[in-house]
Symmetry: C2
Subunit: 221 residues, 2 copies
């Protein structure tokens, strides 16, 4: 094993977790899935889908990780992070792809209104982690290799730590995104998460899930 190989803890082993785990494995990361059920069928399926990956408890995965990716459903977010343990993620980059979806009305809407966001909840629960919001405005199958027939999309990100955002930009470009669009500190999740509702509403209205946004004419670097 390459001693410089980085380890990513993918917290959650559903379709999102498996998709990004494959992407990280392609980039040379060691993948550890964090899960409640290390020996369950869902975990077995995830491990089969990602050669070389292993599974551990949320806490063990978080502790072993150089960085973590939150691939938990909204209703499992808080419990998953409590199991992972804030101390195990202190100082580490934590990518949060969560959308606080309320589908109870039949129309997708935010479960949090305009004065909070999932990204901020994650940052509050992991106060010493370097949380970066990313990949919440895309379907799981296009989180990695998002190139589309009419262009390569961009992903909007936010977070308090500039170096962490630069690292996530590099990861996203490694995954095949054109660029990360930095919208500001973690409170910008109050804009990024509602933006995901535009993506989701288009999907529901058209029963079409493989669309993605690009921001044309960005400011020159």
């Amino acid at each position: 094993m390459n001693s410089k190989q980085k380890t990513v803890a993918v917290l959650g082993n559903g379709v999102v977790g498996v998709a990004v785990a494959k992407g990280f494995a392609e980039l040379g990361y060691r993948v550890i899935f964090g899960t409640r059920d290390v020996s369950g069928g869902k975990t077995r399926d995830a491990l089969q889908a990602v050669p070389g990956a292993t599974a551990a408890s949320f806490a063990e995965a978080a502790k072993a990780a150089d960085l973590a990716f939150i691939a938990l459903p909204w209703n499992g977010l808080r419990a998953g992070l409590e199991l992972a343990g804030a101390q195990n993620l202190a100082g580490k980059i934590v990518i949060d792809a969560t959308n606080p979806l309320d589908l109870s009305s039949g129309t997708p809407r935010s479960a949090l209104g305009t004065d909070d966001s999932a990204g901020e909840i994650v940052q509050r629960m992991l106060p010493e982690a370097r949380v970066v919001k990313a990949l919440n405005i895309i379907t799981s199958s296009h989180m990695v290799h998002p190139k589309l027939p009419d262009g390569t999309p961009d992903m909007i990100i936010a977070g308090n730590d500039a170096a962490a955002k630069a690292a996530v930009d590099a990861i996203l470009q490694g995954f095949g995104w054109r660029q990360a669009i930095d919208l500001g500190d973690i409170t910008a999740c109050r804009l990024i998460e509602p933006f995901a509702l535009v993506w989701i509403s288009y999907a529901f209205k058209n029963n079409h899930w493989t669309h993605a946004f690009s921001l044309l004419n960005q400011k020159a670097a």
Copy 2:
């Protein structure tokens, strides 16, 4: 004069009103600016900028129009529509480009929260008009001829009347947009107007105003 020539009432003669008036004039429309001050300097400037345009009171412009474009600032929206008169716009397409911006905190946010929108306010004030939200996610200089070096953007729209949305799609394509993206009935403004905040936040953060979104890999028609 072409007897089939359509008349557009552009309600407001600031930078947005002048920009779209030029676009409508290019498409062959007769332009009437609706204004509080028909003989004022701002109106004179607008008329000079749009050859062939005339100016009238909000009510006269609305009455003469085949369709109307709302180019009013958020804090002048209700008063302008009251002056225009709901009866003068009954049955007509009304394009609303308003953003309910609250900049008082220093961070752009919605003045309306998540349970209402400017588009719905317009539709409630003009109950018999065929309101279509459009052109609220772009700077005035790119509302017409929005083509950018790296692509041609799309504009998201919403409204209750399918025929009106199809007509607005044709107008937008005439202006040079790739396509209108229909997000649903007028309540979808609860998503489209917050989406504008993403555009605006990027502009504020980067002091850069000429960006625009495209939706890649749309559902085939």
